[in-house]
């Protein structure tokens, strides 16, 4: 993944989560993962196109998703209902949009698709030929992984 792309995604994820949850976020070491990766339980997916092709996946466990949605809505949510899903979708939208804005300022043009959300047990995600950059963020609500797999159009 192009070096210039890394920071906008890391910063956007960190800033947005910190802001909406009003809590301390700990950024862990970034790393690269090969094609197939397990997904923790709730995955919000945003597609990217333009100078690059690929997608951003915001991945967390169901428990974390409910806690984050509870904090963001200011009420206790205990099941994976429509409100929780809509909240996580919105979070993914905010993070990706801010990253794309930062990238535009650096001279890269990206378009993004509306986010979709996937939930379930024992899921994994594969991208042919693209490795994914994983940005793990730890917060009191749990672990959120920003999983970015994009490549240049050659």
């Amino acid at each position: 993944m192009r070096v210039e792309y890394i920071n906008p995604f890391v910063e956007a994820a960190y800033n947005i989560i910190k802001e909406v949850l009003q809590t301390d976020v700990e950024r862990k070491d970034l790393y690269l993962k090969k094609t197939t990766q397990p997904v923790m339980g709730v995955a919000a997916l945003v597609g990217l196109a333009g100078d690059v092709e690929g997608r951003v996946l915001i991945d967390m466990s169901q428990e974390t998703a409910m806690k984050i949605a509870s904090t963001m809505n200011g009420e206790e949510l205990t099941s994976m209902d429509e409100l929780v899903k809509a909240t996580i979708t919105e979070l993914a939208n905010m993070i990706t949009a801010q990253a794309v804005t930062k990238l535009f300022d650096l001279g890269f043009k990206f378009d993004l698709t509306p986010p979709s959300i996937i939930t379930g047990e024992n899921m994994s995600v594969s991208n042919a030929d693209v490795e994914a950059l994983i940005v793990p963020l730890e917060m009191p609500q749990g672990l959120v992984e920003i999983n970015v797999a994009i490549r240049e159009r050659m």
Binding site: M1, R2, I6, L30, L32, K34, V130, R151
Partner: protein, 438 residues
Amino acid sequence: MKHASLKEAKELKDQTRIDFKMVTFTLAGKDYGIDIMKVKEISKASKFTFVPNAAPFVRGVYNLRGDIISVIDMRIFFNLPAEETESNTENMIILRLDSHIIAVIVDSIDKVVGISSENIQPPHPLFGDINIKYISGVVENDGRLYVILDVERILGDEDQVESRASETVPQALSGPASSQIMESTVAGTTSAVREDVDIGFIEETLITFLSFYSSPVNHEWIRNRFNSWKKQRGEDVQLASEQDAEAYLAPFASPFSGTYWNSDYAMKVASFLPSDHVGNYYVWNPGCKSGYESYSLACLIKKKMPDVHLRIIAHDNDLIRISTAPGLVVNQTSPGDLYDDYLVEGNRGKQFKKEIKDSILFEYHDITHDNTLPKLDLVVMRDTVSYIAPEKQQLIFNTLEEVLKPGGVLLLGTHEQPVNPGAWEKIENSGVVAYKKK
């Protein structure tokens, strides 16, 4: 013996399943084990028939109820002190290997211990006494630590063990033939064994400290380096710390690692490149670190072929280093006249012109994952494959064969060579070597 193993079986029954039994014995006061499936029987004997001119660790041959078998003294084989026994009888473990039967002499034979194979830990590269290649694992049982020896590797038929091990085990050990007369002198053989063991140990240590892998890519250098290291260090050849390992590897680095190439070296590399190329010119630079190499390449290619559309794909899996690459600046002193045409004054010192910067794509990427690349004209991969596990090196060379255009050029580190020599034609210009794809 049976009683002991039953008792232990009972103790462990709750937590583990016993699926591995070993005969334990001592050498120089330490505990060792051998897989019981390899042990035919245990015996005591005193009179061995001496075989003239055999290696010192061959005690002779022994008549085991009509079968003549060779007897190896483990203590001499591993350079351990022999325990003085009052009687002349020695403890022997008779091993049934895949191809033959052989006896080994040990200090004392202890008992049979049953363990769960899950509890066997891989050997740590820092083990002393016995080279790691001969150890299949370490296991703790009842407060004692047993080193499990891989007897098939130590004494087995060389065709059945992997090539590296068989290089190390002297020929004389391969079977009953071991007692036959050897070609080289006894002293010569032991020092060769000793050296192989030392090099093997150093190779393991380099993996631990610096993840540098000895492989056909750099074998020649490792061997030559050992001799100069021995001269420098005398008897104390082992690498005890990361500093030692770094000192050992210091001469491995190719010229101008971590800095801009000087004009002379750059021009030698440029001489391998075609001057009549038109259109796109694709370069892959895996292991580019902070990018010095990539910028040097961009300048020398622009100089040689000003009109090509240059694209350098530079990869590294060290995030910190590669993050600095796109904004790399040049100190006040120009690194050489080659670069003068391609630098502009910036606010933080000299910078490369936009045409140079735009020609390089720096990516955070692990080349042991899938590599998606266009058809390449040039690959510069200096001192990179040596730091990748050998089984993955092969994959990278396969990728190269696939993506490099015929006539494309590969530049490896000064002390490296391709693992698939058949696919390349070696080209050389005053000391700098590159490989042209056939």
